[in-house]
């Protein structure tokens, strides 16, 4: 497939707020089930091992008219819970047999209880993760939480989820993680060949496609992108951070790129890159998933940093690893985790003399001119400094 065809396909999946791909997947084999999950991380391996389709529900974007959802929230609450409720109340999520609400912030946490009340016939679980990273303390708690989730999903699926089922799923997700890592590496090496507006759509497809299909799609995109040379620009290389939950509109990503920035790393859809490297296949699969979570997982604002020195280190490493020249803090308005984290990360960047800029957005932000101007000024300043 050509790049344009892949991107068009992914764009259609992205635009489809009725989740036709999920409906089609379910319809292909009677009895199939799908379970939704919100940002930032759930172990999708468990859903997969139960023979069900994990479906990422990352808000309604800028195309969904939110009417009912707004009636549930005050003006000072972020957008993603409103659009998610809108998706639910308008029947768009009827295709899901269950919903998982990960531990990310108080808003999503509370949404789990609201979902229990609003959608009484669905399986709903608040998925807690440890903030203590010792195997015998947080690890033991987490393994037990995983057991409960596995048992619940087995009940929903109507069949047991064995350790071998789980190992197979872990192996399949390891492959997906490798493909996505390869995509990120490729984009960082040749960002003009793989613009983030495209990479983003390819990643988004992974929210609704079966993981095997998504892995194939990612590999195809890398090959297709590399096969059709594009013009290289003198853009500033930036890491974008803060967008790990409510997603920016696609237009915002395009605006940043049009303003003269190459995004070489980001935290969109962190769930795909949460576990770093392969999860081992030998031994107890739940213990392996736990170990990966505790010791080899992404740093983000919803996780506790045990030591002061840990704060911002992964961001600085990302800047170095991907050869970035600056950082853009792009956080959703009223996002407590991202906005409380931001001054700490900015302090660390300042110590490392890494330039940064910051702005807020909402998933339905319509006016891109101010963001384009700010990103453009930032890119210019980087280029001027580096020239000096």
């Amino acid at each position: 497939m050509k790049v344009a065809d892949i991107v068009t396909h992914c764009g259609k999946l992205f635009d489809d707020l009725s989740f036709s791909a999920v409906k089609d997947w379910k319809a292909a084999v009677p009895g199939r089930k799908a379970v939704g999950y919100m940002p930032v991380y759930v172990p999708r391996e468990l859903i997969h091992a139960a023979g069900m389709l994990p479906v990422g529900i990352f808000g309604g974007g800028d195309q969904l008219e939110v009417i009912q959802g707004d009636a549930y929230y005050q003006s000072y609450i972020c957008r993603i819970p409103r659009s998610t409720i809108e998706l639910g109340l308008t029947g768009r999520l009827d295709v899901l047999d269950g919903m998982l609400f990960p531990s990310i912030c108080d808003v999503i946490r509370n949404l789990s209880g609201m979902w229990q009340i609003l959608f009484k016939d669905k399986y709903v679980r608040y998925f807690d993760v440890p903030q203590n990273y010792q195997d015998a303390v947080g690890g033991e708690f987490y393994v037990n939480e995983l057991k409960v989730l596995r048992d619940d999903l087995a009940k929903l699926a109507g069949r047991p989820v064995t350790d071998d089922d789980l190992r197979k799923s872990i192996s399949i997700y390891n492959e997906n993680r490798r493909a996505i890592d390869a995509l990120y590496e490729y984009r960082a090496q040749k960002p003009w060949q793989a613009p983030t507006a495209e990479v983003y759509l390819v990643l988004r497809a992974g929210l609704v496609l079966p993981v095997e299909e998504h892995t194939k799609l990612v590999r195809e995109y890398i090959a297709a992108a590399d096969a059709s040379p594009r013009a290289k620009r003198d853009n500033a290389r930036v890491v974008l951070t803060g967008a790990f939950c409510e997603q920016p509109p696609l237009g915002l990503i395009k605006s940043i790129e049009m303003a003269g920035c190459y995004i070489v790393d980001d935290d969109f859809m962190l769930c795909f890159r949460w576990l770093i490297g392969d999860v081992p296949l030998e031994g107890d699969p739940l213990v392996n998933l736990s170990g990966a979570f505790l010791h080899r997982s992404a740093a983000t604002a919803s996780k506790y940093d045990e030591k002061k020195a840990d704060k911002g280190r992964p961001l600085v490493e990302s800047v170095k690893h991907y050869g970035a020249e600056g950082v853009i803090f792009a956080a959703p308005s009223f996002c407590d985790p991202a906005l409380l984290e931001r001054p700490m990360l900015q302090g660390v960047l300042a110590k490392h003399k890494i330039p940064y800029t910051a702005f807020k957005y909402a998933e339905n932000t319509g006016q891109m001119a101010p963001i384009r101007e700010q990103a453009g000024t930032f890119a210019d300043s980087i280029k001027l400094w580096s020239a000096a």
């Binding site: 929230y73 679980r125 506790y304 407590d336 984290e341």
Partner: protein, 440 residues
């Protein structure tokens, strides 16, 4: 009951106000809080270490075992709010780069720390240890990370899992117990240089249980007609010692004895609650309130209720530092397990169905006319989803509910005229419902 003239200049206001009237127990708790600030101010000079921890899930008895002087950041922020000092502190923090969107308790605290002085004007030393009781509020985690980042404080995390399924299970309890034993106690021993003594902990917990017993009696006195207390504005004073640095101290036991004595006497005499303007003579409305109060205009806010004869008979805020009225007591026989249960059971650690059940129960048991939600801009833990609470409670109880919006300690978010309008409309609605009910 006694009065004390208000020094308007000290409160930052130009117009002198009428003397504030308070119950004797209210004055007593004020003395206790001021004494604690004095203790904190001199802690380092007297060789004591200082701890900071949050109100929900605070392990006060445990901290006392290590001789810490104890600071509670939310209490500092609210005290600054009541003293009209928080506005500047918040703006100072915003100038330092903190977003206008985030919790004003955090910004008031950071602003206060920049100034180095606590609410009473005494110096407030940088804590030697931050006990991060991560209970029912995501922001707590970031809050102490921010303090650690700036002041390099030793920090120990106590992660308290959320009651997503509406109950406490063994896995959650064991996890909290393990953290207390393997992380919290060793850290506190190391920072303080004091060896942990479980019998000392048991002793404090015995005292805690006595105070808890009396607090519940006081709060439940509001079931009586007329209610001898206000279970929201008044309860702020009643929960002060037990939710903060005093639970487990003999002083707290004494305070709750005195308080219960005072309240039971008022109940016997058929008297209403003491408001800042005096005793409320005529109880017109009985309300349940969800959400924390506004602190910057606390007295004016209360007056909007008391002027209309509205008494809050129960509030969820009075359970934020511990839900005691459904039976929980600190248990000296199982001290660590009991501390874990306490943390897990705090109000904001309950899931939505539990919160709605609790409010409906209050409306029923306290014979309330309806529910009022004070939605706080700063507090997503409380506020996110409160409009669903409102609908569900109305649906289940048939009682009218209303919604107002304020903030904790940011004076920019308290619009007295708007709040008053909403309240007056609400009271009319309650009255109309009564008339309609009487007609049937």
């Amino acid at each position: 009951m006694s009065t004390q003239p208000v020094n308007a200049a000290a409160l930052g206001g130009a117009k002198p106000k009428a003397p504030v009237q308070k119950e004797d127990a209210m004055w007593l708790q004020k003395e206790m809080i001021n004494a604690n600030y004095a203790e904190l101010a001199s802690a380092h000079q007297t060789g004591r270490k200082v701890s900071a921890t949050f109100v929900p899930g605070n392990l006060n008895e445990l901290l006392m075992c290590f001789d810490f002087a104890r600071s509670l950041p939310e209490t500092n922020a609210l005290q600054n709010g009541m003293r009209k000092k928080s506005g500047k502190m918040i703006m100072d923090a915003e100038r330092e780069g903190h977003s206008e969107d985030v919790c004003t308790y955090v910004k008031a605290d950071l602003g206060m720390m920049m100034g180095g002085k606590g609410p009473t004007g005494d110096p407030l030393p940088t804590p030697d240890v931050l006990l991060l009781s991560y209970t029912g509020c995501f922001t707590f985690m970031k809050w102490f990370e921010l303090i650690r980042q700036k002041y390099d404080c030793e920090t120990v995390m106590l992660h308290v899992p959320y009651q997503g399924d509406g109950h406490i299970n063994k896995n959650m309890r064991d996890y909290v117990v393990k953290q207390i034993k393997e992380n919290v106690i060793p850290t506190l021993e190391r920072v303080s240089g004091v060896k942990f003594d479980i019998d000392r902990l048991r002793g404090y917990m015995r005292e805690s249980a006595k105070s808890e017993e009396n607090l519940v009696r006081v709060l439940q006195s509001a079931k009586h007609r007329p209610s001898p207390i206000d279970g929201y504005f008044g309860a702020v004073y009643y929960i002060g010692p037990i939710f903060t640095a005093f639970r487990g101290m003999p002083e707290a036991t004494k305070y709750y004895d005195a308080l219960w004595h005072e309240v039971s006497e008022r109940m016997r005499l058929g008297k209403g609650p003491i408001t800042p303007d005096g005793e409320m003579a005529d109880e017109q409305y009985r309300l349940v309130v969800e959400g924390p109060p506004n602190w910057t205009s606390f007295r004016d806010f209360w007056k909007m209720f008391s002027d209309e004869g509205a008494v809050v008979v129960a509030s969820t805020y009075a359970k934020v530092g511990g839900v005691y009225d459904f039976g929980f007591r600190h248990d000296p026989e199982h001290p660590i397990e009991s501390l874990a249960e306490y943390c897990l059971g705090c109000y904001t650690n309950l899931n939505f169905p539990q919160r709605i059940d609790m409010i409906c129960k209050y409306i029923d048991e306290y014979q309330a006319d309806g529910l009022l939600i004070n939605s706080i801009k700063s507090c997503n833990s409380f506020s996110a989803g409160q409009l669903l609470i409102l609908r569900e409670v109305e649906k289940r109880t048939g009682k009218p509910a209303a919604f107002i919006e304020t903030d904790l300690v940011d004076p920019r978010y308290f619009s007295a005229a708007n709040v008053k309008n909403r309240l007056e409309s609400y009271f009319q609605m309650v009255k109309a419902k009564r008339v309609a009910a009487a007609a049937h």
